[in-house]
């Protein structure tokens, strides 16, 4: 059990964060807390991808001219790094191991997406607070109860009739 945790420590953290985030989303009735949960949930995915990219003993995937080698060797190492996520190349071989840079790039995109989602979510919460005066789901449900029951629009926002 302990060795399993130490071997897969990052994945354990990913799972804990993921479940914490999901639980927060579903258990809280406050819109801000739900957004916090969503952020934690998305962050766990970032960590998951970054963990996938890590190659044991791998170097940062930066092409620097190796002083002891000819110019082409760096590119050969990059090719090796490309497959490193699939076939793990054990340390001690004469080619340099690189961590896979691709998941990092993907996660940069995913972070941007996450920020955009959070921004829209917060903007919506601001609007909800302006309109309802609360960000609690229960209060919002209570305020809208009559309208939901009758299936109507709010009486004061129904247009009288539009000129044709």
């Amino acid at each position: 059990m302990i060795s399993f945790l130490t071997d897969y420590f990052n994945y354990a953290v990913v799972v804990i964060l993921m479940m914490t985030g999901l639980y927060t989303i579903f258990a809280s009735r406050n819109k801000i807390k739900q957004l916090v949960g969503l952020s934690v949930f998305q962050t766990s995915v970032f960590l998951f991808y970054i963990t996938l990219a890590k190659v044991e003993g791998g170097q940062p995937p930066i092409l620097v001219p190796d002083p002891g080698a000819d110019a082409d060797k760096g590119y050969a190492a990059l090719e090796a790094a490309k497959v490193a996520a699939v076939d793990f190349i054990p340390a001690g071989r004469d080619i340099v191991d690189y961590s896979n840079p691709l998941p990092h790039v993907l996660i940069l995109t995913a972070i941007v997406v996450g920020v955009a989602t959070l921004a829209i979510g917060l903007a919506l919460v601001v609007r909800i607070r302006e309109v309802y005066g609360t960000v609690e789901d229960d209060d919002i449900d209570r305020i809208d109860y009559v309208f939901n029951l009758e299936g109507t629009d709010e009486p004061d926002t129904v247009p009288e009739s539009n000129p044709t």
């Binding site: 996938l52 998941p103 909800i128 629009d153 926002t157 539009n162």
Partner: protein, 513 residues
């Protein structure tokens, strides 16, 4: 049809696949910064309409190209996979791209008058801009051959959709919580999808779906990692396409969004997610794998049946007409999922046909509902009393689409339900035939209730003195285009059935389960 290819310049056919997602993205950004005066508002609508016309032209060209010369891959920036992103153009996705373009065009016809009534004047430019982003995202999801690129397009379309739904708040404040719940559940869905893609990437080391499919097929019987990835992808897409227990975001979002947004979303958004599900189940994974076929046969079919029965029943008890149609949408997604669950060419073809038909029918119904709201401000089913006399032509179009939804002969809905039932019977799934019948009877109840109220109850006393009205010309064009299409498909189904068969044979070249 293929003669039409003569009207396309060769370079345009060559580059058309890239144009589909890029053009709305670029024009959308321009529309968002147009001036807010009357000229700018008008220009934003014309701009969006022009884009929709170009998209119809382009996607039709791509579809005909695939039909004459077979599927091909377009390399973005001439970078070959796995380094670059490829667009896979085949008989499965080009018809849906054409469908999305046509629905965008028809919805925009409706939008001219309704957006002026529903959206603040200074927000028209960004509103149409966000709409084009949704279109770009949907077309990107359809065409992209890169699993992570699809996630990005999913988020482009979803984030714009949240904004569009929330724009309904100037009419109905419940649009705000609806958009928020959609945002939470939609983001969970997209994140589940990206977790699944992460597992598949860990297993195969590639993001290109064709390579991924090849490498997964090399794993004898599939690995544990691929199985986990499959589960996450299916659940993530299930949230996006409103698979039965994951559909809770849909009714509120459809009911409270601006009517124009509802028309477009109801007819396209879930359909594109359904396409992705088909693509992942049948082309990336292999339905011959035990874990895939188990999920398809038992999991997806069970959820499909649950959707067809429970959501149809829920639709009966709704008091808001838009919610009736929203629950009905969940039920119709069930029909399409049943076609996928059958796993045969005939079943998938019927599901695909229903996907097309339902987009047309539900689009038409929501256009009519939007016209009722626009002229009389009504959405409750009880308020439909007398509408058959007050807006006879609009109610006529509504009735045609409603009959098509129920599946009356000579309408589009009949053809797809018949094909689905016969595909189920071929497999010996007689209980599925019974479920289709029961669900159709439930559809008679919930649609019939509205139609009976409209035709056989007198207009309310308050409506005396209200003159007989009809929808604006553009709205009428929109609703009658869709109603006519649904009848034409019902009378001359060969063309559309052929499209669906080609799509099904593309993903199941060996004949399915």
């Amino acid at each position: 049809m293929t003669d039409l290819l003569a009207y396309y310049p060769p370079w345009f056919l060559e580059q058309g696949a890239a144009l589909l997602p890029i053009l709305p993205l670029l024009v959308g950004a321009i529309l968002a910064i147009l001036p807010t005066n009357a000229a700018g508002r008008s220009l934003s609508w014309w701009g969006a309409l022009a884009v929709a016309v170009v998209l119809i032209y382009t996607s039709l060209g791509q579809m005909l190209l695939v039909y004459t010369e077979g599927p091909y891959q377009y390399f973005m920036g001439d970078w070959e996979p796995p380094r670059g992103i490829s667009l896979d153009v085949d008989a499965l996705n080009t018809p849906i791209a054409l469908l999305v373009s046509i629905m965008a065009f028809v919805a925009l016809l409706y939008a001219r008058a309704s957006v002026i009534a529903e959206v603040e004047p200074k927000k028209h430019g960004p509103f149409y801009g966000a709409f084009l982003f949704v279109v770009a995202g949907l077309l990107g999801m359809l065409l992209s051959g890169d699993a992570f690129n699809i996630f990005v397009f999913v988020e482009i379309s979803s984030i714009s959709t949240y904004v569009l739904v929330a724009m309904g708040s100037s009419r109905d404040r419940r649009a705000l919580p609806a958009a928020f719940n959609y945002l939470i559940l939609g983001s969970i869905g997209a994140t589940f999808y990206v977790i699944g893609v992460g597992f598949l990437f860990a297993e195969t080391g590639t993001l290109n779906m064709k390579e991924m499919a090849f490498l997964l097929s090399q794993l004898d019987g599939g690995s544990r990692v691929a199985q986990v990835g499959f589960a996450f992808v299916v659940i993530g897409l299930g949230l996006k396409l409103a698979m039965f227990p994951l559909h809770t975001w849909l009714p509120a979002a459809y009911a409270h969004a601006p009517s124009f947004v509802t028309i477009f979303l109801a007819s396209t958004a879930t359909k594109v997610a359904l396409y992705l599900l088909i693509r992942f189940i049948f082309t990336v994974f292999d339905p011959s794998l035990a874990y895939v076929s188990t999920i398809v046969t038992y999991g997806i079919t069970a959820l499909a049946v649950a959707a067809m029965l429970f959501s149809s029943t829920q639709a009966i008890f709704q008091t808001d007409a838009r919610r009736v149609l929203a629950y009905s949408s969940v039920a119709q997604v069930g029909y399409i999922l049943l076609g996928i669950g059958l796993g045969t060419v005939a079943g998938l073809s019927a599901g695909y046909l229903h996907l097309i038909n339902h987009a047309v029918i539900k689009g038409g119904l929501f256009v009519c509902l939007g016209a009722f709201w626009y002229h009389y401000g009504i959405t409750r089913t009880a308020d439909f009393a007398g509408l058959g006399k007050m807006m006879p032509w609009t109610m006529g179009a509504f009735t045609i689409c409603a009959l098509s939804l129920i599946g009356v002969p000579l309408t589009a809905g009949f053809i797809s339900k018949l094909n689905l039932a016969s595909a189920a019977a071929d497999q010996g799934w007689w209980w599925a035939v019974a479920v289709i019948m029961i669900s159709s009877i439930l559809a008679i109840i919930y649609m019939g209730r509205i139609i009976l109220t409209a035709y056989f109850q007198p207009p309310p006393a308050a409506a005396h003195g209200m003159t007989h009205r009809e929808a604006t010309p553009l709205m009428s064009i929109a609703m009658f285009t869709l109603a006519t299409i649904s009848v034409v498909i019902g009378i001359v189904p060969e063309g559309v059935v052929e499209v669906a068969d080609r799509a099904a044979r593309t993903v199941l070249p060996l004949g399915g389960l």
